[in-house]
């Protein structure tokens, strides 16, 4: 790791703006200044930016379609839109200042209501910070394809619209409802499937149609000639079972390949939901880091612009106000508390890394021997941003100092006990325990139920069995499970059974059954 030198401080520049108003020309100048620092001095590596100035209504639209410029139509997006809109109109929530799409070029939305200071912050935050993160973080690199997602989203929108024309809105909606219910069980966790280009995707759809037609013709031929139907005999059962490669963790994938009665277009819809679900997964797994990276970038870039004299005192004060409200962390007993604020924790850890690199104390040297005092905060941060996700980031970089600053503590909840117990606090004994508990909280493997297909009887009753592995007594919410199972039953077309099996004892603690009507 080399030591880094930043250009000396000078405050000779002229302010980028002096009032809150801005024009598109000002935005260009702001963008250039921000890029100069972000790319020129910090060396951020970015996708091209496509910066779009939009109104608040358009921002609400973007919210509801999960940020993608194109999305298929579905009532649940309308539901979220209606809800967000009401909260916004009633002033119970403000809109996010920005939104950025993990794509190449990355689409970065700026709201017209933002004043010049906010736009500068947003550009430094999203167009620099998030963009760098999307481009360099390994989770994103492995799981998403930023080059094709925009085309894919457009393909999806058109495909779903075509399906609605052809098979009716109701039928499409029914299938999508069911697929949505299982979307968290549709993420390619182990090996993200080879992603096809849109061209190949089209090709595949055509192929599927052709196959469908041919099998229909085959049926005609067979009936016409009165030939006995030839099919795999009972002896093939075993081979067939093996080909299913059970247990299978990806329920949507399994259904797409194996559900007996689904039409080709329904399989395609499952595939779409599965692909999008996988696309969004890295965002869930890196939310805190990603915001931390973006906040660190906007803070550093804005401070640098101030040093260059390109921000006025007023703008800087305004920025500090904005920044501190974004990274505020209310305590657990505060009315406004809604969990750990990813912006606050992410930013605190990034800033702490910078401090440890530059001015470590004894504690830091002991906890972080590999980078304490290395004088290379940028390189250290960049490595962290690229190699980790929230869970491992916390495990590696959460320092005692941040634990103290946040006054973190661990609360143990044992349903058998009458009381909740404080398991660890911000003291010598507690640091490691708090840290590992917090990391577990961010670990999708820990926090999400493990559900697998274990058995499918393809010849007899056609019953599908799935299993939930119960860890530490955490069973599923029974009502929700039954409702979800109904959707699963609809897709499978035959009875489905969910067994909840305790991890250690191997005992079945609950069974839910659904027979589709």
């Amino acid at each position: 790791m080399s030591t880094e030198t930043l250009p000396p401080k000078e405050r000779s520049g002229t302010p980028l703006f002096t009032s809150g108003d801005w024009t598109l020309k000002d935005l260009e100048a702001i963008h250039d200044a921000v890029t100069e620092v972000g790319v020129g001095e910090l060396g951020l590596e970015l996708y091209r930016n496509r910066i779009e100035v939009i109104s608040s209504e358009q921002m609400l639209d973007a919210y509801a379609s999960l940020g993608l410029p194109h999305m298929y139509r579905h009532w649940s997006f309308g539901k979220h839109f209606a809800h967000q809109e009401m909260l916004y109109r009633k002033g119970q929530t403000s809109l996010a200042l920005e939104m950025i799409v993990n794509s190449n070029p990355s689409v970065c939305y700026l709201m017209e209501e933002n004043n010049a200071t906010a736009q500068t912050t947003v550009l430094a935050h999203a167009a620099m910070g998030h963009n760098h993160f999307f481009r360099n973080n390994q989770t994103f690199q492995e799981w998403t394809d930023a080059d094709t997602i925009l085309d894919y989203a457009e393909f999806v929108r058109n495909y779903v619209a075509r399906c609605e024309d052809e098979y009716g809105q109701k039928a499409v909606e029914r299938t999508l409802d069911a697929a949505h219910a299982l979307q968290e069980q549709g993420i390619d966790r182990l090996s993200p499937a080879h992603r096809r280009t849109v061209e190949e995707e089209h090709q595949r759809v055509l192929e599927r149609r052709r196959y469908q037609r041919e099998t229909e013709l085959e049926l005609w031929r067979v009936v016409a000639h009165h030939e006995p139907p030839t099919g795999p005999g009972d002896t093939d059962d075993e081979a067939l079972q093996r080909s299913l490669t059970l247990p299978e963790e990806n329920l949507l994938l399994f259904l797409e390949k194996q559900a007996p009665n689904l039409k080709p277009w329904q399989r395609e819809l499952l595939r779409i939901v599965r692909t999008l679900s996988t696309y969004f997964e890295p965002q869930r797994q890196t939310k805190m880091m990603n915001e931390g990276c973006a906040c660190w970038c906007h803070f550093t870039i804005m401070s640098r612009l101030r040093e260059q004299g390109r921000l006025t005192d007023g703008a800087m004060l305004e920025f500090m106000h904005l920044h501190s409200s974004v990274v505020a962390q209310p305590p657990f007993d505060h009315r406004g508390f809604s969990g750990i604020n990813p912006y606050a924790l992410g930013f605190a850890i990034c800033q702490d890394i910078e401090r440890i690199c530059n001015e470590p104390d004894e504690e830091d040297r002991e906890w972080f021997p590999d980078f304490a005092g290395n004088g290379a905060p940028l390189a250290t941060l960049k490595r962290a941003w690229s190699d980790f996700r929230d869970e491992s980031f916390v495990r590696q970089f959460l320092s005692p100092r941040v634990i103290r600053d946040f006054r973190l503590f661990r609360l143990d909840d044992d349903p058998g006990a009458e009381y909740l117990t404080v398991g660890a606090i911000h003291d010598e004994r507690g640091y490691r325990r708090v840290r590992s508990a917090l990391a577990a909280q961010y670990d999708p493997g820990e926090s999400r139920p493990l559900i697998e297909v274990t058995d499918a009887d393809l010849r007899g009753s056609r019953e599908l069995r799935i299993r939930h592995t119960v860890r530490r007594g955490r069973t599923l919410d029974a009502l929700e499970a039954r409702r979800t199972l109904r959707h699963l039953g609809f897709l499978w077309g035959y009875p489905v059974v969910l067994d909840e099996v305790d991890e250690t004892s191997g005992k079945t603690v609950a069974t839910h059954r659904e027979d589709p009507a």
């Binding site: 890029t35 910066i51 100035v53 139509r73 309308g78 539901k79 909280q441 955490r474 929700e480």
Partner: protein
């Protein structure tokens, strides 16, 4: 290269389709919510949009989620001030396993889903339940006449609308500002020049007359030139009166809601009556600039009350319908001079009246009330058991029978019987159809 695109002018409402799908899907529940809502909704509120809460069932999106009450779990929370390791804390009320720091990602709880219906969405659903076609909206919207009203001045317009006073005011200001020499000043110079030339006067400061003459000639030339350069009226001075079309505050209307609140009117019946009143009010609001509502309830006595009391207060006693008409006439005399107000009468009752009161009632309505009303409607609210029965075919109520003669004599009086929401609109339509408004 990065690009900046201004997309603000591009269409918004990309989610309208999704929103419509959502409203369609939740239609049954939203209708239920609206029905529920009507109970708490004022008659004059009918035009507002509405925040509705619907149960989550049909718009709920289930997932496999852990039961928050089952199993051991640990939460990391910020902001510890007093706890030390090993402290015990009482479980928060309502269980939920600690603070719920790890709630579901959408933050969805068990409570109902709340959102805002737009006014149009609300009216659609409101009318749909009444089996009302679109007609009220289109018909009434075109109705109001407009009047042209002064609305300030513009710098452009047809010559006939030039406003002389304003124009001159601007012209004067400009002339003063640009120091255009006045006619009087020039005349004074000319006069002095003439006198100097004729030798009638000599310059007072001892200069020669010739010097002064040259000086004045110069001044005059400059003044005349300035006068041509700075015109008396310049196009920029022109001001035109501007007129705006504003809806004529033609008329105002007052709607009298008369209701029998004796014990025989149950909640459902009052609800039906209320919906009829709401529809009538909605109609009037679109017809008139200003609409007042007067609520009169009666048992054996009548009194004016507020809406809350009207629909929700329980009062029992005998029934004397005529008392309500008398109260109405009294209020008209006090507050609503008939030359200034359009009067509407809507009477809801279950049709019971004290037998001795009937002739009095008919006489009041016939001779005094209907002659001053634009329209009058009598709505007989049938008991639920009577659903589907034609009130005329069965046993008509005493009041209904008593009104027979009036209905024949007065074209602007309608009476109908309603037993369910679907009956309301036909009655309403009947009422206004007779009034000669096409439907």
């Amino acid at each position: 290269m990065d690009v900046i695109v201004d997309r603000r002018q591009q269409p918004k409402g990309k989610n309208l389709g999704n929103r419509q799908r959502f409203v369609r899907r939740a239609r049954e529940q939203i209708r239920g919510a609206i029905r529920e809502n009507l109970k708490n909704r004022g008659i004059t509120d009918a035009e507002r949009g509405e925040t509705v809460s619907i149960p989550r069932d049909d718009v709920h999106e289930p997932r496999f989620v852990p039961d928050p009450r089952a199993g051991r779990r640990e939460h990391v929370l910020p902001g510890n001030r007093e706890f030390v390791e090993g402290d015990r804390i009482a479980r928060p009320e309502g269980g939920g396993g600690g603070s719920g720091a790890e709630g579901s990602p959408e933050g969805e709880g068990e409570d109902a889903f709340t959102f805002q219906l737009s006014r149009d969405e609300f009216l659609d659903l409101f009318f749909e339940d009444l089996e009302l076609p679109d007609l009220v909206k289109t018909r009434v919207a075109s109705q109001t006449s407009t009047v042209r009203q002064r609305a300030g001045f513009t710098t452009d317009g047809p010559p006939v609308r030039m406003n002389l006073e304003r124009t001159m005011r601007h012209s004067m200001a400009r002339r003063v500002a640009l120091r255009r020499p006045t006619q009087t000043a020039i005349e004074a110079l000319e006069h002095e020049l003439e006198q100097l030339r004729s030798g009638a006067i000599t310059p007072a400061d001892g200069r020669s007359a010739a010097t002064r003459i040259a000086e004045i000639e110069d001044q005059l030339a400059r003044a005349r030139e300035r006068r041509t350069r700075v015109p008396f009226i310049d196009p920029i001075d022109l001001r035109y009166s501007f007129f705006d079309s504003v809806p004529r505050p033609v008329t105002q209307a007052v709607m009298f809601c008369l209701m029998d609140v004796s014990a025989s009117m149950d909640e459902d019946m009052k609800d039906l009556a209320k919906r009829f009143f709401m529809l009538l009010h909605l109609f009037l609001v679109r017809q008139y600039e200003r609409v007042e509502v007067v609520f009169i309830r009666h048992t054996q006595q009548a009194e004016e009350v507020d809406e809350e009391t009207f629909f929700h207060d329980r009062l029992t006693g005998g029934t004397i319908v005529s008392s309500a008409f008398e109260e109405m006439l009294r209020i008209v005399k006090d507050r609503f001079p008939i030359e200034d107000w359009n009067l509407y009468l809507a009477q809801a009752s279950d049709g019971d009246d004290w037998r001795e009161d009937l002739p009095r009632c008919v006489e009041l309505l016939d001779q005094r009330v209907l002659p001053i009303c634009q329209y009058g409607a009598y709505v007989e609210v049938a008991r639920n058991s009577a659903v589907g029965q034609d009130p005329l075919a069965g046993n008509p109520s005493a009041l209904w029978k008593a009104y027979d003669a009036i209905a024949d004599r007065h074209a602007h009086f309608a009476r109908r019987s309603i037993a369910r929401p679907a009956d309301i609109y036909p009655v309403f339509r009947d009422l206004f159809h007779r009034a000669g408004i096409e439907s």
